[in-house]
């Protein structure tokens, strides 16, 4: 699903963001990415989203080498991933429903599909009763669930969540990760960047620690066997279709 082969990234201003990173995330995995700020987590995500290009090495997403991707192919790469932001990025003037529908509109979905799909996804994140609310009328946790619904609505094969719990009540953080777990159980790969150790400890998932542009720890290496089998039982084949 996602593979980094000896990937290095140095920005034009000389910052060495990633140094020779090797990493492989299989379909259906749930991976926490931890590390202090400036460690290279953001660069890591940007490379996956095709927003930056590696200086050396190869990033492979969905079997495609991103180094050979043309600019106009990038939108189609993005459609395979749902992105969840720390600051939610909801449009204030749109209702919950419209915010989610917006993501479908802009990739050219038909109105019929949108009418069918949006209520279903809102139900999935438990917001079916808030469809007509504006973001301002929601709690932080609810807003992030809208963000999640929007990320999910185009049926991506992976969710990339950049500190999704960073701006919400710690108590509600668990709810969000529970929801992500549920989505993962249905077959979607999850990459979640986080600072919160509680969450990482509570949910026993693969943890990749980035420090100084290098992967310094990866629980996969220790428990590869068990995790691998978990993955296979939950996320193989076409499990993604039911989301």
């Amino acid at each position: 699903m996602i593979e980094f082969q000896n990937v290095s990234k140095t920005y034009a201003n000389g910052t060495k963001a990633l140094k020779n990173v090797n990493l492989k995330v299989e379909k259906g995995e749930f991976v926490f990415i931890v590390g202090s700020s400036g460690a290279g987590k953001s660069t890591f995500l940007k490379l996956i989203m095709g927003e930056e290009k590696a200086n050396s090495g190869e990033v492979i997403v969905n079997g495609k080498k991103l180094s050979s991707l043309r600019n106009r192919d990038i939108p189609y790469l993005r459609r395979t991933m749902g992105i969840v932001f720390q600051d939610f990025r909801l449009i204030d003037t749109m209702t919950v429903y419209e915010n989610v529908a917006f993501a479908m509109h802009v990739v050219g979905a038909s109105p019929k599909n949108i009418r069918k799909r949006v209520p279903y996804i809102l139900g999935l994140v438990g917001l079916q009763n808030k469809a007509k609310c504006l973001p301002a009328e929601l709690s932080g946790g609810e807003r992030q669930r809208v963000g999640l619904a929007r990320a999910l609505v185009n049926n991506p094969t992976m969710i990339i969540a950049d500190e999704p719990t960073g701006n919400i009540d710690p108590a509600l953080s668990f709810e969000i990760v529970d929801l992500l777990s549920e989505i993962n159980r249905r077959g979607t790969t999850i990459l979640m960047v986080t600072h919160e150790h509680n969450l990482v400890k509570h949910f026993h998932r693969r943890v990749v620690q980035i420090h100084g542009g290098e992967v310094v720890a990866d629980t996969m290496r220790k428990t590869a066997g068990t995790l691998g089998s978990n993955v296979r039982s939950s996320g193989e084949g076409t499990a993604n279709e039911n989301i």
């Binding site: 995500l45 927003e51 939108p75 993005r78 459609r79 990025r89 802009v106 990739v107 050219g108 109105p111």
Partner: protein, 304 residues
């Protein structure tokens, strides 16, 4: 593009305009003045052209004979005039006919000339001459003047020259003014669209993050520009029509002989041309802004 996508993008473009009213009105206003000036300059040119044509078109000069010329000699002069190579027609206008047509031209006031009929008539006999080939105008005039008994010729070449000079001046000044205003209106449209874009940067970043193509991001802003252009085109042609009619009424009052190009004939082509030009300007303005913005790439927009 599918119909529902088209509708969606159109709707978004309209939403941009509503959210950004002051700048929209400013853009329309500048583009309207630009179009009106262009239109006025071209209309002026058309009319000058038409006036020149009517002067040259009947390619006739009037040859006045010396006063008190006996009829027989007049006829002989006519023969000589007809013998000149380039003369196509040569029609005798007696002084009585000339007086009559002058009285007609003056209408009710013509009665003041009634005392001048018969032997009191001060007008000379004349010949209306039309030429075969206008390029030999000067030569022919010289030939006519050489005929004995010819007093003078009404020569339109002076008027034609002056009109041409005026036309050139208006065209040149008009060109630069329109060019300047064109650049200004392009700049203002681009800025209007940029303001909308700035206020919608969150939406753009979301669009890019969920995988909207650059064209999908671009369209609503181009639609915004095009609508500004179309509205400006319509407003400009209506204003120009009103303006032209009132100016022409004044001119017709002063110079009865002058028949302007009727606006009813021009309204449709002008409106279409204005709308096309306006839309092209708007699209260009929109494209300039959004192009700059999209090139910035994702980092600034998605901001992870």
């Amino acid at each position: 593009m599918k119909i529902y996508n088209f509708c969606y993008l159109l709707k978004e473009g309209l939403r941009n305009l509503k959210g950004n009213r002051t700048m929209t009105i400013a853009s329309v206003a500048v583009l309207v003045s630009c179009l009106i000036l262009t239109g006025a300059a071209t209309l002026f040119s058309f009319n000058i052209g038409l006036a020149m044509e009517s002067i040259e078109g009947n390619n006739s000069v009037t040859v006045y004979l010396q006063e008190g010329m006996p009829t027989l000699e007049s006829v002989q002069i006519g023969e000589q005039l007809r013998a000149i190579d380039n003369v196509a027609e040569c029609e005798f206008v007696s002084k009585d006919d000339a007086l009559e047509s002058m009285m007609e031209l003056l209408g009710d006031d013509g009665t003041v000339l009634e005392g001048l009929t018969g032997s009191e008539n001060f007008l000379p006999d004349a010949y209306d001459i039309s030429m075969k080939d206008l390029t030999q105008y000067d030569q022919t005039i010289a030939d006519i003047k050489a005929v004995e008994g010819v007093d003078h010729i009404t020569d339109y070449s002076d008027i034609a020259n002056k009109l041409t000079q005026l036309d050139n001046l208006v065209t040149m000044v008009g060109f630069w003014v329109v060019l300047l205003l064109g650049v200004v209106s392009l700049f203002i449209i681009a800025n209007t669209v940029r303001v909308t874009m700035y206020s919608r940067r969150m939406e753009i970043s979301i669009m890019k993050s969920v995988g909207a193509t650059n064209w999908f991001v671009r369209w609503p802003f181009i639609v915004e520009g095009v609508i500004i252009g179309l509205v400006a085109g319509i407003v400009a042609s209506v204003l120009l029509f009103v303006l032209y009619n009132s100016v022409m009424q004044v001119i017709s009052g002063i110079a009865a002989f002058f028949t302007p190009v009727p606006m009813t004939k021009l309204l449709l082509p002008y409106t279409i041309a204005f709308m096309l030009v306006g839309a092209a300007f708007g699209a260009l303005g929109g494209a300039i802004s959004i192009g700059k913005y999209l090139r910035k790439g994702g980092s600034d927009l998605v901001g992870i």
